[in-house]
Symmetry: D2
Subunit: 144 residues, 4 copies
C-alpha cells in the first residue's frame, strides 16, 4: 500500500479524486495551498497558546492566547469549507476565507510582537502570515 508522502500530496490526491471536480490549475494549487496553510496555522496556534500558558510571564500573553485559540478554530472551519468541493458555494467560501485572512492577520500581528522573546511566537506569526497570504490568494482566484 502506497504511503502519502506529504500532507500536500494527500490533499491534492483527494481533491483530484472527486467525481464532480471542477477546479483546474492554476486555481487548484491555490486551493491546496490554502488547505495546507490552514492545517499548519491551526496546529501552530494550538501549540503557541499552550506554550504561552507555560511561560512565567503568562499575564502578558493573554491577548496572544485568546487570538491563537480563535485563529485555530477559524482555520479548522476554513479547512473544511475549502476542502468540500462537491457543491461549493462561492459566496460562503469567500466570506469564510476572508474571515480566516483577518483572523490570521490579527493573530500574526500580536504573536509577532512577542517574537523577539519567544521562538514559538515567531514561528506562529510566520504560520499566520503564510495562511493569511494563502487565503488572500484564494479570495482573488476565479474560483471564489
Amino acid at each position: 500500500m502506497a504511503t502519502a508522502q506529504s500532507t500536500e500530496q494527500l490533499i491534492r490526491r483527494m481533491l483530484d479524486l472527486n467525481s464532480r471536480k471542477r477546479v483546474r490549475e492554476p486555481d487548484e494549487t491555490v486551493v491546496i495551498e490554502c488547505i495546507e496553510a490552514c492545517v499548519e496555522c491551526a496546529q501552530a496556534c494550538t501549540a503557541c497558546a499552550d506554550d504561552s500558558l507555560a511561560e512565567a510571564e503568562v499575564t502578558q500573553l493573554i491577548k496572544s492566547i485568546t487570538l491563537c485559540l480563535n485563529c485555530a478554530v477559524i482555520c479548522e472551519a476554513t479547512r473544511q469549507v475549502v476542502t468540500r468541493q462537491t457543491e461549493r458555494d462561492v459566496d460562503l467560501l469567500r466570506a469564510q476565507v476572508a474571515a480566516c485572512a483577518e483572523a490570521c492577520r490579527v493573530c500574526g500581528a500580536e504573536c509577532q510582537r512577542h517574537a523577539a522573546h519567544h521562538e514559538h511566537h515567531r514561528i506562529c506569526a510566520e504560520a499566520c502570515h503564510r495562511c493569511e497570504a494563502a487565503c488572500d490568494r484564494l479570495a482573488k482566484s476565479d474560483l471564489a
Copy 2:
C-alpha cells in the same frame, strides 16, 4: 447546587462572571442571543445533514448536506469567537460574524427549498434564519 435553567441563562452568567467584562446592555443581550443562535444552528445543521443522509432521495440533497456541514462548523467557530471576551478583537469578531451570517443565509435558503418535503429542512432553515439575524444584529452593535 443550583442548576442552570437554560442554555441562555448559562451563557449570560458565564459572560457576567468575567473579571474584565466590558460588554454592557443592550449589547450584552445581542452577544448572548448570537451565541445561543450559533449553538442551536450548529445542532440543527448537524442533525439535518444526518437526516438528509437517511432520505431515499439523498441524491437530490447533496447541496443541502454540504452546506449544513459547512454551516455547522462555521457556527461552532463563531460560538467560540463571540464567547471569548477577555481580549476581544473587534475586526476579527466582525469578520467571523459576517462569514457566519453568510453561511446561514446560503444554507437556510437551500434548506428552505426542501422545507415542503422534509420537516427537518424546515426546522433547519428556521434555525439558520434566526442565526443569520442574530449575527447581523451583532455586526451592527457598538461592540463590533
Copy 3:
C-alpha cells in the same frame, strides 16, 4: 413559522424526523440528554477558560484552562457523534462517550477545586458533572 422553544426540543424533533430512526424511548431521552449536556458543557468550558484568562491569579489556573479547552473540544466531537444516528456504530459511540465522561470528570474535579473562589468555576464544574453523568447513562443504555 413555529419556533423551537428550547435546545432540548430542537434536538428531539430533529432526531425524531430521521427516516431510519431506530432509537426508541427510554433510550431516546438518554441520547437527547447527552447531546444537550455536551452542548452546555462545551459552552461552560469555553467561557470558563476565557474567564480564567481574565483573573489576576491566572498563573494558578493554567491546569483548569487547559482542561477546559480539552473538555470543550471533546464535548463538541461527542455532540456530533451522538447526534448522527443514520448509520450509528455502537463501538465508536461507546469509545467517544467514555472519553467524554473522563474529560468531564477530570475537568470538573479541577474546576471544583476553584469553585469557592470563582463562581464561573463552580458553574463549569456543575456542567461537567451533568455531562459526565449523561455520558455514563448513555454508555450503559441498550443503544451503546
Copy 4:
C-alpha cells in the same frame, strides 16, 4: 524568516519550545507522529466524505460518509488534546486517544470495503490505519 519545511517539523519545534516540556525521546516522537497522523486522517476523512457525496452510487456510501465525518471531528479533538502538554492529564489523554483509535479502526474498515471501487476510499483507509496505529503506540507509551 525560516520556513517550516513540513508539518512534522512544525509540530516538533512547537512542542520543544514549551517551557514546561517534560516529554523526552523516544516518547516525543510517538507524540509527534500521533499529532501528524490525526491531522492527515482528519483531512483524508473530510475529503473522502465529500468525494463520496459526489459519487453516483452515494446511497451505498452513507455509512462511509457518516463514519468519515465522525472520525474527522474525533481526530481534530485528539490533535488538540495531544498537542496540549503544559498541564497534561494522562487519564484524559488515554481515553481520547483510545476513542480515536476506535474511530479510525471502524472508519478504516468501512472505507477499505470500498477501496477497490474508489481510490479515495483506499487512501482514506490507509490514513485511518496509520492514525489507529499512532494512537495505539501513544496509548502504550510511558506518557499515557
